[in-house]
Symmetry: C2
Subunit: 232 residues, 2 copies
């Protein structure tokens, strides 16, 4: 039997990249890549990453430190002097949690490692609609990035970025993940706490909205039990 | 008088980015960015970077550490168990000094910092022809990357990558630099030595070919005084 090709999964420890990994596992052997970047919940996300990589029997795994993002600054996720804004899924502007061009840095590292491993794909759990409006989560950004890979690597167009959940809502991601037996209880989404998810930041609100809409139990607990009316 | 706009210059300490900075200085105030990545000549390049940033009165400067490139591996510049190949400007394949997708990582960091600073351009000294055949030094790679910036940043198309020397030969770069009073004696090109340039690696050979062709003194010394016939 021919061995499956290899894919690098860029896994944050969150639910979207975990569902993306579950989709990719049907077609690829998986190498898991995680980036720590001095974000508030760095240790908690790393713990989730390891548990998810174990669950999917990763053939390779790599954890990189992008501490330099704190030196570049500009985001409340990496600058502790700024506070994470209260959750609001209806704001017009890009929130302060945006880390400038973060996905381009993460994708570049993933592509670099994929070239070294000889992988065929880089799998990313980016979501366009339910993503707080981050510009580097849009489909057109990934289309453009594939062109950068074709022109700027030794591998060329034999290596592609795949975004299996980009067009899905959080609710659809939960439903898809449940059908693929995704271990949601191992994933972490909260932007600001590491012991118990706050339940009120953008990321918690998006997650809760997804599980509530899908009618599926979340598997993790929240400090703030009531879902704000803004989330619905 | 209206203040000039700001540009981030990605400066290695080498001659190409120094000439690119000299071109950009006519139009922009300059913020200098340097990336250390565990390459063999890291300390020497950093010294040149600082001297060049001083020379051009940088309004901001930032040095980032990309040590993680050593963990990704795949290059004789970052993996000390591999040796830098002897210079050969006529080889068909991409040499082992290629660091997979390095320019995408460096550009992403430069764009991230440019967004935080509110800069209008990222200036890069990439050279297509005399570049050892690295895929991420081609014009089409930078064209594609500008599309990634348009789609993936808050700033959008108000921020562009500029590559003022990309179509020039090394000889033309030396001639242009001399006309702009570029301090070539402050720059460093050698891939493998930090005290005195070896004179025989690809990078030294390209540099020597450029100065010899332009008929202009180099300003630095080489351990190997004779230019190999391969360089002409």
């Amino acid at each position: 039997m021919k061995e499956k090709p290899l894919a690098v999964v860029l896994a944050s420890g969150g639910m979207d990249s975990c569902v993306a990994a579950a989709v990719a596992a049907r077609e690829y052997r998986l190498a898991f890549l995680h980036v720590c970047y001095g974000q508030r919940t760095e240790q908690r996300e790393l713990r989730s990453f390891k548990a998810i990589a174990d669950y999917y029997n990763s053939v390779e795994r790599l954890v990189l430190s992008f501490d330099f993002l704190g030196k570049i600054g500009g985001s409340s996720l990496t600058d502790r002097s700024l506070s994470v804004p209260p959750g609001n899924l209806h704001r017009a502007e890009i929130p302060s949690t945006y880390v400038p061009f973060r996905n381009s840095l993460f994708l570049s590292a993933a592509v670099s490692w994929a070239e070294v491993l000889g992988a065929s794909a880089v799998v990313v759990g980016a979501v366009e609609e339910d993503s707080s409006g981050y510009p580097d989560c849009r489909r057109e950004f990934f289309v453009a990035f594939n062109r950068v890979i074709s022109t700027g690597t030794k591998t060329g167009s034999r290596l592609r970025i795949e975004t299996p959940v980009i067009d899905l809502s959080k609710e659809e991601i939960v439903t898809l993940g449940a059908s693929l037996k995704v271990p949601f209880q191992l994933t972490w989404s909260c932007y600001q706490e590491e012991e118990m998810a706050c339940g009120t930041c953008d990321s918690c609100m998006l997650r809760r909205k997804g599980f509530a809409g899908a009618g599926i139990p979340d598997g993790i607990s929240y400090a703030e039990q009531t879902v704000s009316s803004k989330t619905t």
